[in-house]
């Protein structure tokens, strides 16, 4: 730059230079300018990357309200939550009993029915309809579909069986069907996607 590098490796300050040894004015300007440009470049990167995140209209549909009043005991419905199937099942007392009778320690993903439902409402089993193996939609939520060996859900892709608490009992799936965040707004209305 405006300084001369001598053969012995020392730098001689130019006419606008500093006091000789140590930090020169030009070094300071150089470091300050390059640093400011670097911070500016990093700040510019943020919108360029963030624009690919879910947009406001997608987030606006991130929670849905479902009325449970019409669902009879033993019946299940399929609805859509965040563009994926959501299973809502009204368990019969027999199904609740069957789920509670299973020794939790014997499960691949140990969870009790109570942990997978809301307090005082063990009959409402709300889970994602996405198999935890490779993401197929399990059968059993609609009238006449097979419910597998354990009376819950059955994934036809690779043969995973889920029980009446939607816990994996057999087959390649590693986890129980996911329980999304949801809140009971009243006795029969639930908002899925909202954290209590």
């Amino acid at each position: 730059m405006a300084t001369v590098e001598h053969s012995d490796g020392t730098l001689a300050a130019g006419p606008d230079g500093g006091s000789g040894g140590g930090l020169r004015r030009r070094d300071f300007i150089n470091i300050a300018a390059v640093s400011a440009a670097g911070v500016g470049a990093a700040a510019t990167l943020y919108p360029l990357v963030n624009q690919m995140n879910p947009s406001a209209d997608v987030l606006a549909l991130a929670s849905i309200e479902v009325d449970l009043a019409a669902i009879q005991p033993g019946q299940a419905v399929k609805t859509i939550f965040r563009k994926q199937p959501l299973f809502i099942r009204h368990l019969t007392p027999a199904e609740i009993q069957a789920a509670n009778a299973v020794p939790v320690a014997s499960l691949r993903d140990p969870q009790t029915l109570a942990e997978r439902t809301k307090e005082g409402k063990p009959q409402w089993l709300i889970t994602m309809g996405v198999c935890t193996h490779l993401g197929c939609v399990p059968l059993g939520a609609a009238e006449g579909e097979v419910r597998g060996q354990f009376g819950g859900y059955f994934c036809p892709c690779h043969g995973s069986h889920y029980d009446t608490a939607a816990r994996v009992r057999k087959g390649p799936a590693p986890k129980n069907l996911e329980v999304p965040d949801y809140v009971f707004k009243s006795e029969t209305v639930v908002t899925v996607g909202e954290v209590a």
Binding site: P47, N50, Q51, S55, A56, V58
Partner: protein, 434 residues
């Protein structure tokens, strides 16, 4: 590339040596924009604008690729997808305003770049091809900007596409089939929107390719300079890096501050409110004008009102395209051996009259086609062509130019020529055309 005293690339480590022997890309960069490219030491800030245009193109490509991730080129959804970008996409408003205003800034710096070339005679030998490639870039930019303006599918978008493709309809015999071929129908519609989107995405990369040729051709003789005197020795040049990287870096900072100021505080200042109304083929906005960077050309187009052998409409189209085609012949219309306007007092006066004339054309182009603006644009159009076809050729033969400095270093050192003057030059004759 250009001068024998250019510093040769020397790999600093074993790794860069390994790379250099297999793919000498660092060597290319070093020789093109690094310490290995000697540049005249007296360049002023007008020489920043080429780099700024490159920066503007980069901003357009980056923001444009992002907008294309959210935009839908479908006539029923295009306008809505643009509003979706403005309201829903994270920082979508910022990216779209950067793209829209970035286009205007791209034209500002490109026009200053062109006027710098006109004033300092950068189009003269041996840089004719640099100049002509630059004009090709300008034409590509205009096509790209026009098609980009159509994409939001607002009222101005729709009617701009109708008016501009209508220009081709003025061509005798084949005009109407050509217009229908461009539109893919009888009026702007879905096929038009879809093909304009495709081409709007393609052309910037074509521009980038022509820019590489533009820079390649420039680096053969090297940059011109404010004196127009050719480089005579190492004392006339400094390495591009760090001298001009630092100077261009400063210019880039100023450019980005101005762009940010417009984007954040007046993002719609240069836009038209009509383009926030969805396209309606049954209702024309009361006053259709293109974006400001097309105003001078639009004024020339509308200046022809009388049929003379050919229809007036065709004369307007010919004159509008002719106003740029003419510039391809500029190196031969102005054969004066003195390049820089600094040493051509008469030329300098006419240069500023030309600038004024183009500003008047731009002013008329932005106004409705009414009197007295039509008559003013007719006079201004006549002067524009007279400047290049009559005044410049006469000037270059008759003008008494000022004495040129013996060398760049002499002009820089002011009276210290004893230190720097080459021994074999006695002085004051025009040094160009050798």
């Amino acid at each position: 590339m250009s001068f024998p005293w250019a510093e040769e690339y020397r790999p600093k480590s074993g790794f860069t040596r390994w790379i250099d022997q297999r793919l000498p890309l660092p060597r290319l960069v070093y020789g093109a924009v690094g310490g290995g490219y000697p540049v005249p030491r007296n360049l002023n800030y007008f020489w920043n604008f080429g780099v700024l245009a490159g920066l503007a193109l980069t901003i357009q490509i980056v923001t444009g690729i992002i907008l294309a991730m959210h935009y839908v080129p479908y006539d029923q959804a295009a306008f809505r997808s643009v509003e979706h970008i403005m309201r829903d996409v994270n920082q979508g408003w910022l990216l779209r305003y950067l793209h829209a205003n970035g286009a205007a800034f791209f034209f500002i710096v490109t026009y200053i770049h062109i006027f710098r070339g006109l004033y300092y005679g950068s189009y003269k030998a041996p840089r004719e091809l640099v100049w002509m490639l630059g004009l090709v870039i300008l034409l590509l930019m205009m096509a790209t900007a026009f098609m980009g303006y159509v994409l939001p599918w607002g009222q101005m978008s729709f009617w701009a596409s109708k008016v501009i493709t209508g220009l081709f309809g003025a061509i005798p015999l084949v005009g109407e089939p050509v217009q229908q071929w461009l539109l893919g129908g009888y009026a702007p519609d879905q096929p038009t929107l879809n093909r304009f989107f495709s081409l709007h995405y393609l052309l910037p990369f074509v521009i980038a390719g022509v820019i590489i040729l533009h820079i390649w051709a420039l680096h053969i003789p090297g940059s011109s300079n404010p004196t127009g005197v050719v480089v005579k020795g190492p004392q006339d040049t400094v390495p591009f890096h760090p001298y001009y990287t630092a100077k261009d870096g400063f210019g880039a900072g100023v450019f980005l501050i101005l762009l940010a100021a417009v984007v954040f505080f007046a993002p719609n200042y240069i836009g038209h409110t009509d383009n926030y109304i969805p396209a309606n083929p049954l209702s024309t906005p009361s006053h259709i004008v293109p974006e400001w960077y097309f105003w001078p050309f639009y004024a020339i187009l509308r200046a022809f009102t009388v049929d003379f052998i050919l229809p007036a409409k065709l004369w307007g189209v010919i004159a509008m395209f002719g106003s740029i085609i003419l510039l391809f012949f500029l190196p031969w219309l102005d054969p004066s051996p003195v390049r820089s306007g600094n040493y051509r007092p008469r030329f300098r006066q006419f240069f500023w009259i030309l600038i004024l004339d183009i500003l008047v054309l731009g002013w008329c182009g932005g106004l409705p086609a009414e009197e007295p603006y039509v008559m003013i644009s007719q006079v201004a159009t006549m002067y524009y062509f007279a400047h290049f076809l009559i005044i410049l050729p006469i000037l270059s033969w008759t003008e008494r130019t000022l004495p040129l400095p013996a060398s760049i270093s002499e002009s820089v050192l002011h009276g210290e020529e004893a230190e720097a003057a080459p021994a074999d030059l006695s002085g004051v004759r025009p040094a160009a055309a050798e």
